[in-house]
């Protein structure tokens, strides 16, 4: 057993800020995409196995839970991409001041919403719109 030591204040002590949420969602979206890599590989494996296996997988992805997974991956992609670019900018030592950090967080949310909305519209149009 480790010696009981004082704990640092827990998360719920602090007022929730946008920068905190963006930080957490960066990690969550990364986890979602890490799982999504397996979905992509399953898609490739099914493709290699032939039309029957491929048809089964595409049908599964077109079901309600499947579409929910695809939508979550699309949102995660745009969020993790914009937030990741913000992290890379931080690594150069820039935009770390409080004002810039707040503005950056808002920009990440905006970019993620925009990218996701456009992608989802195209996907929906492909599935249900036209021909």
């Amino acid at each position: 057993m480790p010696t009981p030591r004082p704990l640092s204040p827990h998360l719920q002590i602090y007022r929730l800020t946008l920068t905190m949420v963006v930080s957490g969602v960066h990690r969550l979206s990364g986890l979602a995409l890490s799982a999504g890599a397996f979905v992509a590989v399953l898609w490739l494996i099914a493709l290699g196995r032939g039309p029957a296996a491929y048809g089964d997988l595409v049908r599964a992805l077109r079901s309600a839970p499947g579409l929910l997974i695809v939508a979550a991956l699309i949102v995660s992609f745009w969020f993790h991409l914009s937030s990741g670019i913000r992290h890379l900018i931080w690594d150069t030592g820039h935009a770390l001041e409080r004002r810039e950090a707040r503005r950056g967080a808002a920009l990440v949310v905006l970019a993620a919403l925009l990218g996701s909305a456009l992608t989802l519209v195209v996907v929906a149009h492909r599935m249900w719109g036209g021909a």
């Binding site: 990364g30 890490s34 590989v41 493709l47 290699g48 032939g50 039309p51 699309i74 890379l88 492909r126």
Partner: protein
């Protein structure tokens, strides 16, 4: 004057000298994944449909096959690095942590190999 902590001196264990390797690999893969990820999303969105024939033609086109063969290991490596950090942060038990990190590594090696093999098989015309 030494900057080593008293604890460091007592345990006699110096730096492992590979402390930045994980951090650095995560940055390098993330930079590579910006164009690769954008390419994949836009390429998939511009496919006319998701039929078997379209998908096979897409994966077997040489340019797409090469990019996929780069994307798969880079994506899986980046994912492995990220999941490992999360496990190291939230799994306090040493044994459980080691087991989960190892399982993650094995799963991503399997995904990388299976994904790349599927692409190669289709691109080289050995499909089903």
């Amino acid at each position: 004057m030494s900057l080593r902590s008293p604890l460091g001196r007592v345990t006699g264990m110096g730096a492992a000298h590979d402390g930045v390797a994980h951090w650095w690999a995560q940055r390098v893969t993330s930079i590579a994944l910006i164009p690769l990820g954008l390419w994949l999303v836009f390429a998939l969105l511009s496919l006319p449909d998701l039929s078997y024939a379209t998908a096979v033609a897409f994966v077997s086109a040489p340019r797409n096959a090469v990019l996929l063969l780069i994307l798969i290991p880079v994506l899986c490596y980046h994912g492995y690095l990220g999941v490992t950090v999360v496990l190291e942060d939230y799994v306090p038990d040493r044994g459980q942590r080691l087991t989960l990190v190892l399982l993650t590594a094995f799963a991503y090696v399997l995904a990388t190999t299976a994904g790349m093999f599927s692409v190669l098989r289709l691109a080289l015309g050995h499909g089903p």
